[in-house]
């Protein structure tokens, strides 16, 4: 099923024209409303009149996560504060989260693109849908929520936590669709089995999975254990949230809502735009955003874009699976974690050497994070209580900075491997291939 055939199945020429018109409008808008972009464009001797079509996008400056941090909190906001009706935030590496303000129209666009995704998954107004992404500053929960309401299905805002209660709701309310991280879906399957139930006791039919990388094997396992069909849902809070791209029933890549989010692939080092079909870093321009529009935002996600009409009838550009990152960001339980965040916390505590190692694993289908730190000789004590306190203090600080809990492991001085040059700070044991 297709929610908006006019936009989703537009001819390439029409889409090109629409994108060109929208880009021109966007560039004029940010030039006059965001000093950051005006300064950048003036430094490049570029004015809005130089943008004649979407192909001129290569002339425009990039935006990075660092730019968002440097302009914390509202520096990149284009709309006046009175127009902002909601704010979301994603974790930052140095204590500053990324703040994204949405206007009423932004929320309408977000609902629209989420509804397109849900419709592609086969959800209709007759479905009962559980949103099990976290509700709050994270875009996952509310983003999916408004899409389900916009579609007219019944939304059950389960958020995360209390998995047994969740399973009882899935069974008793005949929930047919669910949006959550793929690792949480596996955890649900496990809890279902522990409760002595099987997939035949529930009526889940569709799963919208995203917010963390996953594989075909995980898809198969989730589908078998929960008795549903699993679809990819991609998004990032800087651009909008969930709904930037989505899989259709053909499941040959994820369709990008490119009338709103213009995708490019660039070479992560030379920053040169690459033709579709080549692998590189994914870049998005928010063609219609009012609150915090971004030009050529570098996602750091590595993937490939595909052209060509899909068997489902949609004509939009598709993106392949995210195969990695061009920076050192880790996605743990759907939360972005940078080793530098951990480093900044450790450096603040004189008890520890500036040596650390993040060990990421997936145990019982849930991501785990262990932070290994070396205790400085001067702070080592004979008192176990004090040592455990030291460990707890670090764990608490990490939790408040990372938004996920980490298991702290105190190590002997000198026991973490020192490397020459760029330090190796991550061991990722998760098998995602």
């Amino acid at each position: 099923m297709i929610w908006n055939p006019y936009k989703e199945c537009m001819s390439r020429d029409e889409m090109h024209a629409l994108q060109s018109k929208r880009l021109q409008k966007l560039v004029t808008y940010v030039y006059h409303n965001v000093p950051f972009y005006r300064n950048k464009m003036q430094a490049m001797d570029l004015s809005p009149e130089d943008i004649h079509s979407i192909d001129d996008i290569v002339k425009l400056p990039f935006t990075t996560k660092q730019d968002l941090r440097d302009n914390y909190p509202y520096g990149l906001q284009a709309a006046p504060p009175s127009e902002i009706v909601r704010v979301h935030a994603s974790s930052g590496t140095t204590g500053n989260p990324t703040i994204v303000g949405y206007t009423r129209k932004d929320l309408a666009v977000w609902s629209e693109v989420m509804t397109r995704a849900l419709t592609a998954y086969g959800i209709t107004r007759d479905d009962t849908f559980s949103v099990s992404y976290g509700y709050g500053l994270f875009t996952g929960g509310l983003g999916a929520h408004y899409g389900v309401e916009n579609l007219g299905a019944t939304v059950i805002p389960t958020s995360t936590g209390n998995t047994e209660k969740h399973i009882r709701l899935i069974r008793d309310l005949h929930i047919t669709g669910i949006a959550c991280t793929p690792s949480y879906a596996l955890y649900l399957a496990e809890t279902l089995e522990k409760m002595g139930l099987t997939k035949d006791d529930i009526s889940l039919r569709v799963g919208a999975f995203g917010a963390e990388p996953w594989t075909e094997n995980m898809r198969k396992e989730i589908e078998e254990r929960l008795g549903l069909k699993g679809f990819n849902l991609y998004g990032l809070s800087e651009i909008m949230g969930p709904g930037v791209s989505y899989e259709c029933e053909v499941q040959d890549g994820s369709h990008i809502n490119e009338d709103h989010f213009y995708p490019e692939i660039i070479h992560p080092d030379t920053l040169v735009q690459l033709p579709h079909g080549q692998q590189g870093e994914l870049v998005f321009t928010t063609l219609t955003k009012e609150g915090m529009p971004l030009l050529r935002y570098r996602t750091k996600d590595l993937c490939t874009l595909y052209d060509g009409q899909c068997a489902c009838g949609r004509t939009s550009v598709r993106m392949g699976r995210i195969i990695g990152r061009s920076d050192d960001m880790l996605i743990i339980r759907g939360i972005n974690v940078f080793p530098s965040q951990v480093e900044s916390v450790i450096l603040e505590m004189p008890e520890f050497e500036p040596q650390y190692m993040l060990v990421v694993d997936r145990v019982n289908n849930l991501d785990t994070l262990q932070v290994q730190v070396e205790v400085r000789r001067d702070f080592f004590g004979d008192d176990i209580g004090r040592m455990l306190n030291m460990k707890k203090t670090l764990a608490d600080k990490l939790k408040s900075v990372l938004s996920i809990s980490a298991d702290v492991k105190l190590m002997e001085p000198g026991s973490i491997e020192r490397s020459q040059g760029k330090g190796k700070h991550v061991i990722d044991k998760r098998k995602l291939v």
Partner: protein, 136 residues
């Protein structure tokens, strides 16, 4: 009236204690007593050895986190109720014992005590039926 105990920080890892005992053995340092306090991911090995300074030096050379802790070493008769009698006295005087370990040898029992207030503890012990050692 106190003696020096070595406290060594150890990760919970197979073979880590062996490395300590091997180094001490190679340098001819004898261990008189030891105890191990452990948590889920690290432990503290507490040792009474023949040559304290040398032991610290060789263990630090081998990158161990070692520190010295003052403890009280007493011997008391190895008969039923003798330790209980001593501990009663300490408790009456509100002396808190952070940890202790003991071993018996013939007629005598050796006890290592780490109290919160070491001077007060020694004063109280002087009134008890035990010997307080001031060197190893």
């Amino acid at each position: 009236m106190t003696i020096k105990q070595l406290s060594i920080f150890l990760e919970n890892k197979t073979g880590r204690i062996n490395e300590v005992t091997k180094i001490l053995g190679q340098h001819g340092i004898n261990m008189h007593a030891f105890s191990m306090a452990e948590t889920t991911d690290f432990g503290i090995l507490r040792l009474i050895v023949s040559e304290v300074d040398k032991a610290v030096e060789v263990l630090r050379e081998a990158n161990f986190a070692v520190m010295l802790t003052d403890v009280v070493w007493i011997t008391c008769p190895n008969v039923a109720g003798s330790l209980s009698h001593i501990l009663d006295h300490l408790a009456e005087q509100h002396i808190f014992i952070e940890y202790m370990y003991a071993f018996a040898e013939g007629d005598q029992a050796n006890v290592i005590i780490r109290p919160n207030d070491i001077d007060h503890c020694i004063q109280v012990l002087k009134e008890c039926d035990c010997n307080i050692h001031n060197r190893i």
